[in-house]
């Protein structure tokens, strides 16, 4: 029971941060070319 809760909370965290990362990438204004090292 607790094991399952821990697993799903970890998954939820992962999904949450990936969604936020997606949001961030989609919200970015006009694109500059990526830098070159």
């Amino acid at each position: 029971m607790r094991r399952r809760t821990a697993f799903w909370l970890a998954m939820l965290t992962g999904v949450l941060v990936v969604l936020m990362a997606l949001g961030f990438a989609l919200m970015q204004p006009a694109a500059l070319p990526p830098p070159v090292s």
Binding site: M20, A21, A31, P34
Partner: protein, 439 residues
């Protein structure tokens, strides 16, 4: 307790998303295309989760109490896999789509902030691989712990330097201040965990007052505080991190369930079976030797469920120790609730605490069911493993679903017993599983 648990989960989620919110807040520098920006955000997300990892294993009593620290360690493991996946995705996107941005691999000519980024990545991969495959790679526990702390610390520090060095998304002054604050909090956490806490343990030593041989290559190790009050209370069934023959700074501690009842405090007893390098030496411990404790932890206790109409313990081998603590404590309190003990062992001679359990059965409303794999001649009790049929035979049909169950033993046994109880209609929240095989 549930309200408090939800509050801590809320705080945890806020901490995880905070760096991303900071990233999104205020004026943003121009984007560089979807995949580039997505990769950057994944890097920040992975980093935020890595930072939380240090707090999760810091054993904050207040934060871990509603869940049990064992499950928090398991959570730490799950999160590590996700955080590593995010950080690897961050790198993989750049490597596949923007390889020229990564520049040279050779650290002598590469940009330093990209080299530390790669260092962080290697550290994180090694941290996870050595933990997930510790047994397979045959890494001794102590070597694993020291390398785990070192790799995680170096990896995180390198990642902070990487973000600061690249600086593209953290250039706004307020973002710099916030990142600095996050880093500072992490450093304080490290100092507290690795210096302040061990120092406090060293000021509160314990002495070994008894080392008693038990059946099945097991020992009872009894400790008493030396010059201080010691642990003032614990719930029977909880566990402690024990350091023997080493400094509390040395990461030589091991988790063990307390086997004695809290009614016997300040004396604390552990039941320890000779299984590895550390436990193999227990028999050579001398009276008067110094020990250090970090305790108590865990929710595996009858006291977590004061309203339960009765309890059943499903135990394999040395998993008996937390159950002994609970049985001894219930006996000391004169508790008359019905109790069942299913106790699986390889043979009759291996049944640790056998005589005392018989004696406790006389003082409690306790029915003991021994299950032996290798039964002696003339044995009329149960044989084989703790399975559904055994449980069904000995659990009262009318009360079966209302009892609170405690499972402790080898992981396959505990899993099988849990599945069997679920098939018998026992609700999941009535089954407590002690998870002690953490790495």
């Amino acid at each position: 307790v549930t309200g408090r648990a939800f509050a801590w989960i809320g705080i945890y989620l806020l901490l995880v998303v905070a760096p991303l919110v900071v990233l999104l807040a205020g004026p943003m520098p121009p984007g560089r295309g979807f995949w580039w920006d997505f990769s950057m955000a994944l890097g920040f997300a992975g980093m935020a989760m890595m930072g939380i990892q240090f707090a999760l294993t810091a054993r904050f009593k207040r934060a871990s109490a509603p869940f049990g620290v064992d499950i928090i360690y398991l959570f730490h493991r799950y999160l590590a896999l996700i955080a590593l996946a995010l950080v690897l995705a961050h790198f993989a996107i750049l490597w596949l789509l923007y390889e020229e941005a990564l520049g040279e691999l050779d650290p002598r000519v590469a940009r330093w902030e990209l080299t530390v980024g790669r260092l962080a990545l290697v550290c994180f991969v090694l941290t996870v691989v050595t933990s997930e495959f510790r047994r397979f790679l045959r890494i001794p526990y102590l070597a694993w712990r020291i390398s785990h702390v070192a790799l995680a610390t170096v990896g995180f520090a390198a990642a902070v330097a990487h973000i600061g060095g690249v600086g593209y998304y953290t250039d706004a002054p307020f973002k710099r201040v916030l990142w600095l604050a996050v880093t500072l909090i992490w450093l304080l956490l490290l100092v507290w965990l690795r210096l302040v806490k061990p120092w406090d343990q060293r000021r509160h030593p314990y002495r070994v007052v008894e080392v008693r041989p038990e059946r099945s290559n097991s020992w009872t190790l009894a400790l008493e505080p030396d010059g201080h009050a010691g642990v003032t209370r614990f719930k029977p069934g909880q566990f402690a991190w024990l350091t023997l023959r080493g400094s509390p700074f040395g990461l030589r501690e091991h988790p063990f369930s307390m086997a004695s009842a809290p009614e016997r405090l300040p004396r604390i007893e552990f039941g320890i079976k000779e299984l590895g390098d550390f436990t193999g030496e227990i028999g050579t411990v001398k009276l008067g030797e110094v020990a250090y404790l970090d305790a108590p932890y865990g929710v595996f206790s009858v006291d977590t469920y004061p309203e339960a109409p009765g309890f059943a313990f499903v135990i394999g081998g040395i998993g008996i120790t937390p159950a002994m603590s609970m049985l001894r404590s219930l006996a000391a309190r004169g508790d008359r609730r019905p109790l069942r003990l299913f106790y699986g062992n390889s043979s009759w001679d291996e049944v640790v605490f056998r005589e005392e359990i018989e004696e406790l059965a006389g003082r409690l409303d306790l029915t003991v069911v021994h299950i032996l794999q290798d039964a002696p001649e003339g044995w009329e009790g149960e044989t084989g493993y703790v399975d559904k049929a055994v449980l069904e035979r000995h659990l009262p049909a009318d009360r079966r679903t209302r009892l609170q169950y405690f499972l402790c033993g080898p992981t396959p046994m505990a899993h099988a017993a849990e599945a069997a109880l679920r098939e018998l209609g026992v609700p999941a929240h009535h089954i407590q599983n002690e998870i002690f095989e953490l790495v």
